[in-house]
């Protein structure tokens, strides 16, 4: 019986399921959808446009806001775009049924999630960093001669621009994890806006110091500790912020991975 059991019909092939192949597949999937281009271009355009507006209309009124935070106000908007893209990368496959094709090709399942996360992280971080640097440089065209004049090489500037990109990326990665967890695009967006953006604000209204302290380590709050040259009031240290964000992302992706292994598709 064992001899008839092998599928002798198929000739021996060089084709093999490999981690590199799965990464390539996810890279290919990401770039062959229009929504990817639209969300990424929108995210970039928003940061740049807001940065130019802030720079060109600045009249030197002693605003206390950190220069990097000041020119990157647009990241509040691009954050939403990138979070939505993160959710589409995972939950979008459930909405369309594509996940069944993906998991038939990769029946061990988890490499699909890791590859999605890796490709998305690389793209979101690279794009955010480039956008941040360009926006900073463009805004400086108008900010020269004001109290917000700074060069890229000034202490803390590159760190803040990178920190901002890392924060955006990790928050969007959390959104990607929520999409994988909830398997629904509206559900993912709702959970991201509700649990990550709104809930902490509600919690801080409670008259409990312990809650206030805890909330500082929540994803959105931890992310605001990154992305500035000088420490923003009421936030934890940038190192602690980065670590908290990374741990949140890891926890949500791990939960998504455990469920991905167990659930029927």
């Amino acid at each position: 019986m064992t001899t008839t059991d092998t599928t002798a019909a198929a000739p021996s092939q060089p084709y093999r399921l490999t981690p590199a192949g799965i990464l390539r597949s996810e890279w290919h999937k990401l770039w062959t959808l229009r929504t990817t281009w639209i969300t990424l271009l929108t995210a970039t355009a928003l940061v740049l446009a807001v940065g130019i507006t802030m720079g060109s209309t600045y009249d030197g009124d002693d605003s206390e806001v950190d220069t990097v935070v000041f020119v990157l106000f647009g990241t509040q908007l691009s954050q939403i775009c990138l979070a939505v893209l993160g959710i589409l990368v995972t939950a979008g496959e459930y909405a369309t049924g594509m996940i069944r094709a993906s998991l038939t090709a990769v029946p061990r399942r988890l490499p699909v999630l890791w590859s999605k996360a890796a490709v998305f992280t690389a793209v979101a971080f690279t794009l955010s960093l480039v956008t941040n640097v360009v926006t900073f440089l463009v805004a400086q065209i108008w900010l020269g001669g004001t109290d917000k004049e700074l060069a890229l090489t000034d202490p803390g500037v590159l760190g803040a621009l990178t920190g901002s990109a890392a924060a955006i990326t990790l928050l969007s990665l959390i959104a990607l994890g929520l999409g994988a967890l909830l398997r629904s695009v509206p559900g993912g967006i709702g959970a991201f806006v509700g649990a990550v953006l709104v809930l902490p604000e509600v919690l801080t209204t409670l008259p409990l110091d312990a809650v206030d302290t805890a909330v500082k380590y929540f994803p959105a709050q931890a992310s605001s500790s990154l992305g500035s040259i000088t420490r923003v009031e009421n936030t934890i240290a940038p190192g602690a912020g980065l670590l908290s964000l990374a741990l949140w992302a890891a926890a949500i992706l791990t939960t998504a991975a455990l469920l991905l292994r167990r659930r029927d598709v």
Binding site: T7, A9, T96
Partner: protein, 312 residues
């Protein structure tokens, strides 16, 4: 080779619904095996379990000697077409296939090959959103063929195809089986399986009802009749009469003969120089036998005049 042993799937918590109930069967290479059952019989669930998309509640199944998930190059083992759409409509046909191909290092030339085989070359660059049901099915079949697999598992592949497409699928399946591949194809249409499949696995309400060849199914069903038209129908009727043979006649000159086959009728007529205008084995009776077999296990029975009565 596909093997299922005691395969069971139950859904739901407090009042679980059993979709697949202790199913044991084998699908052999070199033949087309039809997987038949009324809607809701558990065909799709069984196929999803074979592909590792659904986890069985009990039992196990293997493809090519191993659990599907244990293969190192699954697309080269099994090509699958699922009933539910599993394609992102925003991607073009070419990019859909290429994304799947990348996982296994399958080259673009192979993607173009399967697009060609399925007749999609001209629309390969178009987004799947604009595809008809039939084109979507063809793309699903292209994806199934991508890894040149030794086993094909196709869930209702003729759904939405035009007559030309149905014929194409039929020939494709037969050709794949003739090359020694294992082909499992589900359908709820007995008539389609009768002309495509060699072997039949029939289920109803998740249970195995029959595991047999098409030929044997027809023979054992005992309902195969032969329509005979002859100017000497009455005479022929007398000659054919016997204990196992029943002959009915609705219109003069036309006989409906059960209990013997067309060959015997033809020879008898020839031996007595009786001209025959028509001698037709009634394949519709196959559908009848299928309905008789699955009648007790259909999910939604219609009231009113029964189909079984109308067909007989």
């Amino acid at each position: 080779m596909i093997r299922a042993h005691g395969l069971t799937k139950r859904y739901g918590g407090k009042r679980p619904k059993t979709a697949v109930d202790d199913l044991t069967f084998e699908v052999r290479p070199g033949t087309v095996t039809g997987f038949l059952g009324p809607n809701g019989a558990g065909k799709s669930t069984t196929m999803r379990m074979l592909l590792g998309l659904d986890a069985p509640t009990a039992g196990r199944c293997t493809v090519g000697g191993r659990a599907y998930t244990a293969h190192s190059a699954p697309l080269t083992q099994v090509g699958a077409l699922l009933e539910a759409r599993s394609i992102h409509p925003g991607r073009s046909a070419y990019h859909h296939l290429m994304a799947l191909a990348h996982t296994h290092g399958i080259p673009a030339s192979r993607v173009r090959d399967v697009l060609d085989t399925t007749g999609l070359t001209d629309v390969a660059g178009r987004r799947v959103k604009g595809f008809s049901l039939g084109m979507g099915q063809r793309l699903g079949i292209a994806a199934a063929l991508l890894g040149d697999p030794g086993t094909l598992i196709l869930d209702e592949p003729v759904n939405g195809l035009d007559p030309e497409g149905v014929l194409w699928i039929r020939n494709l399946l037969k050709a794949q089986a003739a090359e020694g591949r294992t082909v499992l194809v589900s359908s709820h249409l007995m008539s389609e399986m009768a002309v495509t499949a060699d072997h039949l696995i029939i289920i109803g309400r998740g249970r195995l009802l029959a595991d047999t060849t098409v030929e044997r199914f027809v023979r054992d069903s005992g309902t195969g009749s032969v329509k005979v038209v002859s100017p000497a129908a009455a005479h022929l009727s007398e000659l054919l009469a016997g204990p196992a043979v029943t002959i009915t006649s609705d219109t003069p000159g036309t006989l409906d003969v059960r209990g013997t086959d067309a060959e015997h009728i033809g020879r008898t007529a020839a031996a007595h120089a009786i001209p025959l205008f028509e001698l037709t084995p009634q394949t519709a009776s196959l559908e009848q036998a299928f309905m008789d077999l699955t009648h007790d296990s259909v999910e939604y029975v219609t009231s009113g005049p029964s189909l079984a009565g109308a067909a007989a």
